[in-house]
């Protein structure tokens, strides 16, 4: 069936690949590019564990086809840190206990980093709204919100 040659930027690097039309973006990332930080959770667009940034917009990669990302600029959790220097959000999640089992964390980090690009000092309500497409089954939402607040303070001051 139909195969497509796609070319896109993934975490700053140009990637070219041949994919079948039905390849999900989440499967492309994990199984073809071996970027397994992006998690497959519910695979029904509910949990947000597969969240990535496509052209600066947060999307669920389990609801996207790889061919739809052709020509796009993709950022995954692997692209959040700068080399060995963790993103302030990653530091804050560690320091504030923003994760328990950790499975939902890559999705939350991508959602939170998208928020902090738009809002330097988001309110708690804005944080909760920005994270409303992500589920944590350990239900550690309080610490997740505190982690985002802590990172916002670190990045943009009080």
């Amino acid at each position: 069936m139909s195969q497509h040659m796609i070319s896109l930027e993934v975490n700053g690097q140009t990637v070219q690949a041949q994919v079948p039309a039905r390849r999900l973006l989440s499967d492309f990332l994990r199984d073809d590019l071996h970027l397994t930080g992006t998690k497959r959770g519910c695979e029904t667009g509910t949990c947000g564990a597969c969240s990535v940034k496509l052209d600066g917009r947060l999307v669920k990669s389990c609801l996207s086809l790889a061919v739809q990302a052709d020509g796009g600029r993709l950022q995954t959790i692997e692209g959040l840190a700068s080399g060995d220097q963790l993103h302030p959000l990653q530091e804050s999640f560690m320091q504030c206990g923003g994760l328990q089992c950790g499975y939902c964390t890559p999705g939350f980090l991508m959602a939170a980093s998208t928020l902090l690009e738009r809002e330097q000092r988001p309110s708690e309500a804005q944080i909760r709204e920005a994270l409303s497409g992500n589920l944590c089954r350990c239900t550690g939402y309080t610490q997740i919100v505190e982690s985002v607040q802590d990172a916002a303070r670190k990045m943009h001051g009080d």
Binding site: M1, S2, R22, E43, G45, L63, Q68, G133
Partner: protein, 292 residues
């Protein structure tokens, strides 16, 4: 998900020709958020997907000399919420779009795709109906312009023909002295789909309602104008008793969906409460979007 061919037409005419040639076995994809789910569940197994992502005619938001907003079918919910033009001309529409589903879906799902899916448990159709919006459909046979209540036929059913795609949605300006408000009710804060939605456009002068458009969505199979309640409100002073009576008439006029998310009785009560509060808010709060 079964195998399929993925086609990317560059124009409405090319997409329409593909649709006409391939027949019922193909499906149109815009953002894909809804289609992907039904394909994954194998409720639909199309042989061909026609992606309209690259069709320039479906993109952008403009306003014409008459103040009519032209919203391209590929406009994502987040674009609608963030658009300076929409915020200026129809703030109620931007506020509605900011609540659709969740942030990720708003970044991916499109207005055109949302309308074509015909899902009752979503926000845009009811709000657009109350605003008197029209849907512009295109094919090789030309264009058709349908009012929302002509386009939305029933539960997951629309008037779109098999060779047509949505080009744009047109939203006329509010009449003078009009106020518009869209509200919704979710059973829990974590839900992404409304159980009830209520959209109201009231023309109010000196406390008297001169005209009303009321639409109930989400709890009924297809968004529905509340014509009897509209007629009741017209010419009346918007006091608490009149508003309560109007809300009762709205609740009495619907045939609610009954499913796992909410029984018919529960939905009817929530429609009544939502309608009453929304009308009260509009009557007492001119700062709810008012046109000059």
């Amino acid at each position: 998900m079964r195998e399929f061919e993925f086609l990317q037409p560059a124009s409405v005419a090319e997409a329409s020709r593909m649709l006409a040639d391939l027949g019922e076995e193909c499906r149109v994809m815009a953002g894909g958020t809804a289609l992907m789910l039904v394909m994954r569940q194998r409720m639909l197994n199309p042989s061909h997907i026609i992606s309209v992502q690259r069709i320039a005619e479906l993109q952008g938001i403009t306003v014409d000399a008459q103040g009519v907003l032209h919203i391209g079918a590929l406009t994502r919910h987040a674009d609608l919420a963030d658009s300076a033009l929409v915020r200026q001309h129809q703030p109620v529409l931007a506020a509605m779009a900011a609540q659709v589903a969740n942030p990720q879906v708003r970044n991916q799902g499109t207005l055109g795709g949302n309308l074509c899916y015909g899902d009752p448990s979503t926000d845009p159709p009811g709000c657009l109906m109350a605003l008197g919006a029209q849907v512009v459909l295109g094919s090789t046979r030309g264009q058709r312009v349908l009012a929302m209540d002509e386009f939305l036929l029933d539960y997951f059913a629309t008037a779109i023909e098999s060779d047509e795609i949505v080009i744009e949605v047109r939203v006329p300006p509010l009449a003078a002295h009009s106020r518009a408000r869209y509200t919704r009710y979710k059973r829990t804060a974590a839900e992404h789909r409304p159980l009830v939605s209520f959209a109201a456009v009231l023309q109010i002068q000196d406390g008297i309602c001169r005209d009303a458009q009321l639409v109930v969505g989400a709890s009924v199979a297809v968004p529905q104008r509340m014509r009897e309640a509209e007629a009741f409100l017209t010419g009346r002073q918007l006091d608490a008793a009149v508003i309560e009576e109007a809300a009762d008439r709205v609740a009495a006029a619907i045939a609610p969906i009954s499913d796992l998310r909410g029984s018919a009785d529960y939905r009817r009560e929530m429609v009544r409460v939502n309608a009453r509060r929304t009308l009260q808010d509009l009557a007492s709060n001119p700062s709810a979007q008012e046109s000059p």
